[in-house]
């Protein structure tokens, strides 16, 4: 049936450096995206409240309210995909940003091609080789088409990335998926993926779907191999 694609149209850039903001805006506009700018965390939050964006590009190093805070604040009201811009790929910033609710990250210096690839990957919706109406995992009921997960009629609030992660694993129950495979399927990475993305998202997902996140039963770890949803 192919992939259900949503062509991203609107991007919000929250970045304090005007030159970088301008360059990013021009680059992304060339890719056919509609770009909105915000020069601080506060104004960025205000924009998120006014308009529904397909992707938010968030610099973690902001004066005043920092990127982590902005990220958590956005997550209170919205599941919009967030790409954070980190200064370094090898720091705690990445994990902290992901824990705060970001979906993906790029590190400075930002390369335009990489950035637009990330934006496209995140804005894509769940791919459904055989669109099934309902997938049941234990007491969870997943509706891939609608993008909802319910437990006992109660809807669980997952971000889009968490939801896609859950769907990929639930599509083939019992099969172990490596971090690399999940990076490719959920984030659209080929070889350059950071497996911390998978680990942190699994952690976040478990907090929402497990009865006891410390003793996961829905999404289990297979040492040295990856993750799976037991059949």
């Amino acid at each position: 049936m192919g992939t259900l694609l949503v062509v991203p149209r609107s991007v919000l850039i929250i970045e304090d450096d005007p030159r970088i903001r301008r360059i990013l805006q021009m680059t992304l506009q060339r890719e056919g995206l509609e770009v909105t700018e915000a020069e601080s965390g506060e104004s960025g939050l205000a924009r998120v409240g006014e308009h529904e964006f397909d992707v938010v590009l968030l610099d973690l190093m902001l004066p005043g309210m920092d990127g982590f805070e902005v990220c958590r604040e956005i997550r209170r009201s919205s599941n919009v995909p967030i790409i954070m811009v980190t200064a370094r790929a090898d720091s705690h910033d990445v994990v902290a940003g992901l824990e705060a609710g970001a979906d993906d990250y790029v590190s400075k210096p930002v390369v335009a091609k990489e950035l637009s690839a990330r934006i496209r990957a995140l804005a894509r919706r769940t791919r459904a080789p055989e669109p099934r109406l309902r997938i049941t995992v234990g007491d969870l009921e997943i509706a891939p088409q609608e993008g909802t997960v319910t437990r006992g009629g109660q809807a669980l609030n997952l971000t889009r990335t968490e939801f896609r992660l859950l769907c990929e694993l639930a599509e083939e129950p019992g099969r172990v998926m490596s971090r690399e495979e999940l990076l490719e399927r959920v984030w659209g990475y080929d070889y350059f993926g950071d497996s911390r993305l998978v680990d942190v998202h699994v952690r976040r997902l478990r907090k929402k779907v497990e009865h006891d996140p410390g003793q996961p039963t829905v999404v289990t770890t297979v040492r040295g191999m990856g993750y799976r949803i037991p059949a």
């Binding site: 030159r19 360059i23 400075k108 911390r196």
Partner: protein, 493 residues
């Protein structure tokens, strides 16, 4: 699962046990050859201890000898006087009552073996011995006794030391003398002297051992200082001396620790400065790369020399970007705040991926060989750093080693290793330790100015050490250089 460690494990410091073992080995060697290593502090301390105590023992031995010999002499003198007086009295009594001749009386006297009796009456001398007579007695002694005073004197007869004791008898010009051998006493002196000398001589090695044994624990604080200094020399600036409440060590420990702390702060500041600089470069770099993309998109409209300029700009920007990234990475490691993200990594798969990435980037492919027992090994490592290590080693082979010729993954006992071979001339032995220094450019190597900044291998070494492994370079069987990364494998049941 991913876990993070706030700091890389410090380079393993030479621990005290190791030093103790070193010591034990030294001790054995020393015990075997009976030689004190005088060039060491411990050796000198042991020697000084031994000399002082040996001299004290010798003085004590001499004092004992003097006191004992003096005592024995006095005892002997007293005993001979008593004996002589008793015999003198018996001579007088016998001569007075029983009417025996003088030789008969003298013969009957109870005498100890070897002693000789002399009797004089009115200038007539009689002796119980054939060899010793009047002539052997000094005149002064005879006169003193004959004038009414008991006296004694040491005399020498035919090379033998004797003791002559005389007592006056009732009549004038009548006296009794007895001559005792002192040989036995002299023997006693000799034995005593020999025993004392041997004891002192025998004590010296014992004192050496005791000194060695005692100075060990006494100087152990110095070992701690040495260990701390050694780990600092190896680059672990967090090493400190723990005085462990030892008041003698506390001042040294305090000043040493202050110095190292100042040094550490200085190094960290320098490293942080480098990190800050490269960090600050990243924002303008982002803007420049973005701008370059825009220019490149419009490059078709540029005149040919403008297009060439853009191409140069692209190449240089790429180099600059790499340099900034490497510099940031290495200075962050130096500043001690590089985070180690440990996760389970299937090493063989990672190597395959790194090679696949090369193919994707259009580089020459190289054969990879994975030993059967190494293909499933999972190690706890920082995947990103490990990718960096493999990438840098392969880049190094391409840029400086005439091309990558092969990668091998092999399993050790509790290690797993990756060997990266190249087709170059190899690294001369004298340069092998230096290739991992930052900005190292071997004089004999084929490195040129345009090929990287020389940080790649330094980063490899940093990352491998941070993960508890080692990296070395030697000759590959095919002649080129072989870089070997050895990483520990956590034994899982």
């Amino acid at each position: 699962m991913t876990t993070t460690r706030s700091r890389p494990q410090p380079a393993p410091a030479p621990d005290l046990e190791e030093l103790d073992r070193e010591q034990a080995r030294g001790e054995r060697r020393w015990a075997w050859r009976w030689r004190v290593p005088v060039h060491t502090l411990r050796g000198r301390a042991t020697l000084a201890f031994t000399v002082v105590t040996s001299v004290l023992c010798a003085v004590l031995a001499v004092a004992v000898w003097v006191a004992v010999s003096q005592y024995l002499l006095v005892q002997r003198e007293r005993a001979t006087l008593v004996q002589t007086a008793a015999n003198g009295a018996q001579v007088q009594r016998a001569l007075g009552t029983e009417g025996l001749s003088v030789p008969q009386v003298l013969a009957q006297l109870p005498r100890e073996t070897g002693s000789v009796s002399l009797y004089v009456d009115d200038g007539e001398w009689l002796t119980s011995s054939l060899s010793i007579g009047r002539d052997d007695l000094p005149d002064a002694l005879a006169e003193t006794v004959l004038s009414g005073t008991p006296a004694r004197q040491r005399i020498a007869v035919q090379g033998e030391t004797l003791m002559a004791v005389g007592i006056p008898l009732t009549n004038l010009d009548e006296a009794y003398f007895e001559i005792y051998p002192l040989e036995e006493l002299d023997n006693t002196y000799r034995v005593l002297a020999a025993v004392l000398t041997l004891s002192v001589a025998g004590l010296v090695p014992l004192l050496l051992s005791v000194g060695w044994w005692v100075t060990g624990p006494a100087l152990r604080p110095l070992n701690r200082i040495a260990a701390a200094a050694a780990s600092i020399a190896e680059g672990d600036l967090s090493a400190r001396i723990d005085s462990r409440g030892d008041p003698a060590l506390a001042p040294i420990a305090t000043s040493f620790n202050h110095t190292v702390a100042a040094l550490e702060a200085r190094v960290r500041t320098d490293a942080r400065f480098a990190a800050d600089v490269s960090h600050e470069l990243r924002s303008p770099l982002t803007a420049m790369l973005g701008a370059l993309d825009l220019v490149e998109a419009a490059a078709d409209d540029l005149p040919p020399d403008g297009q060439e300029g853009v191409a140069v700009l692209r190449a240089e920007m790429h180099r600059f970007e790499r340099l900034v990234a490497d510099l940031l990475e290495i200075s962050r490691a130096d500043a001690g705040n590089a985070d180690l993200v440990v996760e389970e990594v299937r090493l063989a798969a990672l190597v395959q991926e790194a090679l696949a990435r090369r193919r994707l980037a259009g580089r020459d492919d190289a054969p990879v060989h994975v030993d059967a027992d190494a293909s499933d090994v999972v190690i706890d490592a920082d995947k990103r750093r490990l990718e960096r290590v493999l990438g840098n080693l392969m880049d190094n082979a391409d840029k400086h080693g005439g091309g990558l010729t092969g990668v091998t993954v092999a399993r050790g006992e509790d290690t797993v290793c990756v060997m990266v071979d190249d087709a170059g001339p190899g690294v001369p032995e004298e340069e092998r330790a230096r290739v991992f220094d930052r900005f190292a450019r071997g004089a004999g190597s084929i490195r040129t100015r345009t090929e990287g900044a020389g940080l790649g291998l330094a980063l490899v070494a940093r990352h491998v050490h941070a993960m508890g492994g080692t990296v070395t370079v030697d000759q590959s069987p095919s002649g080129g250089a072989r870089f070997t990364v050895v990483l520990p494998v956590e034994i899982t049941p």
